[in-house]
Amino acid sequence: MLKCNTVCKRFAPLVRASSTVCRQNVRRAGLNNVRTPTCVPVARMSTEPLGGGGDNLKYALLVGAAFVGSLTYAVVTLKGDHQRSVKRMEDISTRLQKSTLHIQSAPPALSKPKPEAAPSAEQSSPPPEAAAPDAETTGKPSADSTSPSHKLPSHTPYLLIGGGTASFAAARSIRARDPGAKVLIVTDEPDLPYMRPPLSKELWFSDDPSVTETLRFKQWNGKERSIYFQPPSFYINPEDLDSAENGGVAVLTSKKVVHMDVRGNKVKLDDDTEISYDKCLIATGGIPRSLQVLERSGEEVMKRTTLFRKIEDFKSLDKVSRSVNSITIIGGGFLGSELACALGRKSTESGLEVVQMFPEKGNMGKVLPEYLSNWTTEKVKKEGVKIISEALVKSVACKDDKLEIQLKDGRLVRTDHIVAAVGLEPNVDLAKSAGLEVDSDFGGYRVNAELQARSNIWVAGDAACFYDIRLGRRRVEHHDHAVVSGRLAGENMTGASKPYWHQSMFWSDLGPDVGYEAIGIVDSSLPTVGVFAKATAKDTPKAATEKSGTGIRSESETEDTATSPVASATPAPAVEHKDDYGKGVIFYLRDKVVVGIILWNVFNRMPIARKIIKDGEEHADLNEVAKLFNIHED
């Protein structure tokens, strides 16, 4: 048919010219019921004069054209049928595989051996692989629906892989900008999207004995809230996503995306469901790093080890902390120090021994300049934590139900349980199938300044190695970054083309004396300038800094910025000052430009810090910049 059309179009002028003649001919040939003159122009190409001979030829050509046309039609139909039948076969086999998987993964109570045929009515005989008996799988016990996949959407306009902070922020952003948007979140966790910071902070300070169930905490302003971003009523069921009039956000829990087909714009889940998408966000976060020594130490050790990240880790660690005598945290960064302080606080009531060990000299050694790291370590000790610094773990063994941690310098630590907080491994499982680039310096998927990896694919959160226009290529593992990048990805998925510009911040609280907020690149290997508030001109913090063991060498009392070092320091009498490093601001410099700022126990000043980073200017006197923060006020 199509062939005829194209042919006819080309011969349209001829048709018009010869239409009257055609009609006459047709009548003459007695072919009143034959096809319309549309195909006749082919006949008109003949230069033979009209007449008897011409008629025969016309007839022959007409039949020929009809034959060709019907042949074409037949081929097309058959091809379509073939495709349909192939797809049918695929559908049936996947459904069978799914039902076998259901049987294998369904709890024993549900599966009943029944020599039934496969669930689909069309299939007459089950393929050899599905020899396992088919069971009537009722809905999964959990509230979340994982009913037969043919009810799940096979296509979603917005697919978000991963159900964490970045994903939720993107879902919010998409819904705000695209009215009626249908967003599907697929997560391998059994929980709806929740925020992580309270898992190592606020939840541990709660007085509520049922906190592990409610997962509610008190915010800084006194108001209580859940760690879940939204209650279940906010979301719609995945099955209802297609038909939802105003769209919505649906969360598919306990499902993992195992394969991504970028050219076909679709993904495959671990139960072989395929979902196609228009726009996709990868927000897969990461998994906690383990230590090789732990992995090598065998099952008895691993049984007594927690890699802390998720809600289930919080619940199990809470339980452990009530039943053991000693917990050792390996790692001196944010997570390790926060958990140490949280457990340390509890230890005063329960008599729990809390040990924290790390290779650096002090807590947050990779973030804070040495003097501040040392000061912080003393504060962490006051929270009841036994600190073992400059500790490298050589081996771990389980003896008489106790763990023995052998350090490289010979020290031995005996404990009941280990919490490893040694970093995050970004989850780039989909890189291979999707053909996405992984960054070799920072890990994670490599994306551009607009967080895009490839057409229709964006990455946000912990897993994104992105280009920060101001600070260069980086990967950030903080909560606010997940929110900011998730929101930006959502914006760009709905048509904006905005680069990462609004600088995210982060914070940490380590007990009552140490609370700070930070922004930008905060790496202790960079040169820093710290400006701290002193109560009166008479105070001498020198003693306190000496006491903290930094070996400060030079000192000058002047308005100018003196830089000349002086003779070796002599220890001054130890004097305790309450406000040493009590509050202040610390600038991190790269090529004389401020690339990171820590607000040390000063709050509500983040906008100024953000502005300074954004400007990216060289400032001759950072004390003048520090004035902008009004550190002496509250």
């Binding site: 300049p369 606010d480 040169p527």
Partner: protein, 135 residues
């Protein structure tokens, strides 16, 4: 003002009194461009439209009652009546009807502009204690 240098020479520490910081700063900051397309625009976009993605709105524009909220708030925003929004009663009513269906998302005693569980940050999400005020 006291100045110190760390042992490695890498880190400088300055202790300042209130008097040290009394004089206004001479640090120069670059003037902000109000039309910078990269900047987060706040509640109102440069062209006068509402920025539905503003963190200050919490989840109002993106939740199940998002479309009703948007209609009501848009009507209010563009209203030129003497009593602003007086012609938007129907939209607000339908928004309220929707919100009543989700009591745990939209606490019933709160007003139309406040959010359910999250505190809206009045200006931007960079305010200090927004660390717990997530959206």
């Amino acid at each position: 003002m006291l100045l110190f240098l760390s042992a490695s020479g890498k880190d400088r520490i300055i202790f300042v009194t209130k008097e040290d910081h009394e004089a206004p700063s001479n640090a120069e900051l670059i003037a902000d461009d109000p039309n910078d397309p990269y900047e987060d625009p706040g509640l109102i976009l440069p062209n006068g439209d509402i920025n539905w993605n503003c963190p200050c709105l919490g989840g109002m524009a993106s939740g199940p009652c998002g479309s009703q909220f948007k209609e009501a708030f848009s009507c209010f925003h563009y209203s030129k009546e003497e009593i602003k929004g007086s012609e938007c009663i129907d939209q607000f009513r339908s928004m309220q009807k929707c919100m009543q269906k989700f009591p745990d998302l939209y606490p019933q005693e709160e007003d139309k502009e406040s959010t359910s569980q999250t505190e809206p940050s009045p200006v931007s999400d960079s305010a200090d204690k927004t660390k717990s005020s997530f959206y």
